[in-house]
């Protein structure tokens, strides 16, 4: 089954944090990716730019209204995600525990639309 790990954290401007902090963060994720590879788990993912860079579209009758900002304003925002392919929720949770995170991780199964 495929699960999405949604990584929530306070918005961080990674362009202006000290170099060591950025490197530590990248190393942590690099290590996590190596861990996934070692376990033979298929995965994908991406880091997201801060929520201040988000633009939201909302339907309004026939039109779409485009507004600045994320869909929901939160203290912690979606900062990145992984999609992993594992056997079951227990394995997904075990892996999520190894994932670098600051505020919290939401684990969600994806729909299987492959037929």
């Amino acid at each position: 089954m495929k699960y999405m790990l949604l990584l929530f954290e306070p918005d961080t401007d990674w362009l202006s944090v000290p170099k060591e902090k950025l490197e530590a963060e990248l190393d942590a994720h690099g290590e996590f990716c190596r861990y996934l590879e070692e376990r033979g788990i298929t995965f994908s993912g991406a880091a997201l730019r801060p929520s201040t860079t988000a633009t939201t579209l909302r339907p309004d009758g026939e039109q779409m209204i485009v507004t600045d900002g994320p869909y929901v304003e939160l203290k912690e925002n979606l900062g990145g995600y992984y999609i992993i392919d594992v056997a079951d929720l227990d394995e997904a949770l075990e892996i999520a525990k190894r994932c670098p995170v600051s505020a919290g991780i939401e684990v969600r199964p994806t729909w299987d639309t492959s037929g």
């Binding site: 056997a87 929720l89 227990d90």
Partner: protein
């Protein structure tokens, strides 16, 4: 096999339901990988048993009979829906290509079901409801009654939990050893809740529900077989056995509630108490290296109560020390209340009353009859009978258990009588 009169068949069926429901269901779920289908088939097998056993007699191994019939029924359904079942994302069952014979030493199927129902990815209320439904075989109506919600709400809650199990891919297996520590608290909570409800029913005409107590005992014993070294499991089973050992003393001859202070200790079941004390001792000894957990501490407190020759001869300072320890690792208003009452036995009722009155500001406790009853007891011991009467009346108004309510009302009357003298 001989023909049996109707009552024998009914009794055999009830017994098979109690001992075998979870085993039959778990065994079928392994085949169907679908809890709803497994439940349907299990229910059908129990219904079929009534006719078949009346006609042919009760089989030598009723649970095995039920398992065979339920599996056959489930397989029939699967065959009918062959193409559909291929596409359904069902429960994940590893190593399901063989069907192991039901084992008698470790009730593996039942444990699987417990860990499935008590998965931390489900909400606590859903965990308890699912355990009662799937492991204990209670009807949705019974569970709804237990939780004081209507049947439709409970049915929706159970359906939602089952859907999450399937959609989120919660696996159907006993967790690996390294996962057990994480999972255990959730399972212990559920078993303890089943026991608490059996020990003092939250509503109804009788103080206890022995079938719930038996279920909790069996579940705790099954856990202990899985984790014989785990102090918290030992602690929970010890607490249950100790409470059971004293159960007879809780009702006086006329059927009214007797407090620990007034109980006739000769009515206690020494076998259960000795067993509980031994388990409690093991729990404390095994937890020495990392410090005891809440269940081990509860067991130690229950053991001290059980081994005292009289209420006054109880080792109250030791009990107070254990409550202090409990409070430091698991602070809760109910523990604070219990600690205050132990303190009243060491330092007198006045000091404890101040503490209890502070607890009344806690919103979580304001509707708890135990708080009003504790306050009433302290006021009574301080000679403030009129105030004690009011507090007993309040406690009576807060319980839905008829035996408890009668007891508290009687106390209120007694306080008023004493006051008028």
């Amino acid at each position: 096999m001989t023909s049996h009169p109707g009552e024998d068949v009914a009794a055999a069926l009830i017994d098979a339901h109690r001992r075998g429901w979870a085993r039959v269901l778990a065994s079928v779920a392994r085949v169907t990988r679908d809890l709803d289908a497994a439940e349907d088939a299990t229910q059908e097998a129990f219904a079929a048993a009534l006719d078949a056993w009346r006609r042919d007699g009760v089989p030598a191994t009723p649970v095995a009979w039920l398992t065979t019939v339920a599996r056959r029924k489930a397989l029939d359904v699967i065959r009918r829906e062959e193409t559909l079942s291929r596409k359904l994302p069902m429960l994940i069952v590893p190593e399901d290509d063989h069907t192991p014979a039901p084992s008698d030493d470790i009730d593996d199927d039942r444990l699987r079901l417990i860990f499935l129902c008590c998965h931390p990815a489900l909400g606590l209320a859903a965990r308890v409801a699912l355990t009662l439904r799937l492991v204990c075989g209670l009807t949705t109506a019974e569970i709804a009654h237990l939780f004081l919600v209507n049947e439709r709400t409970m049915a929706a809650r159970i359906t939602r939990a089952k859907k999450k199990i399937r959609a989120a891919g919660i696996p159907y297996r006993v967790p690996a050893e390294h996962e057990l520590a994480d999972r255990l608290p959730s399972v212990l909570t559920v078993v303890a809740l089943v026991f608490t409800e059996g020990h003092t029913a939250s509503h109804g005409d009788s103080l206890r529900r022995p079938t719930r107590v038996r279920l909790a005992t069996e579940l705790a014993a099954a856990l202990l077989e899985l984790m014989p070294e785990e102090p918290e499991v030992l602690g929970l089973l010890a607490t249950i056995r100790l409470a059971e050992g004293r159960a007879h003393g809780r009702l006086s001859e006329n059927g009214s509630l007797a407090l620990l202070r007034e109980q006739d200790r000769s009515t206690w079941d020494l076998g259960a108490i000795n067993e509980g004390r031994a388990l409690a001792e093991q729990a404390m000894r095994r937890s020495a290296h990392r410090g005891p957990g809440p269940y081990a501490i509860h067991a130690a407190i229950a053991a001290l109560h059980s081994e005292a020759l009289s209420y006054d001869a109880t080792d109250w300072p030791q009990i107070l020390a254990l409550y202090n320890l409990l409070l430091s690792i698991q602070p809760s208003p109910v523990t604070r209340l219990a600690r205050a009452m132990a303190r009243s036995m060491v330092e007198g009722p006045a000091a404890a009353l101040t503490e209890v009155e502070l607890l009344e500001e806690d919103r979580e406790l304001s509707a708890y009859n135990g708080l009003a009853a504790a306050r009433a007891d302290l006021l009574h011991r301080l000679g403030r009978q009129a105030e004690a009467a009011v507090a007993y009346e309040r406690a009576a108004s807060l319980t839905n258990n008829e035996v408890e309510r009668l007891f508290l009302t009687d106390r209120a009357h007694a306080m008023r009588d004493r006051n008028s003298l």
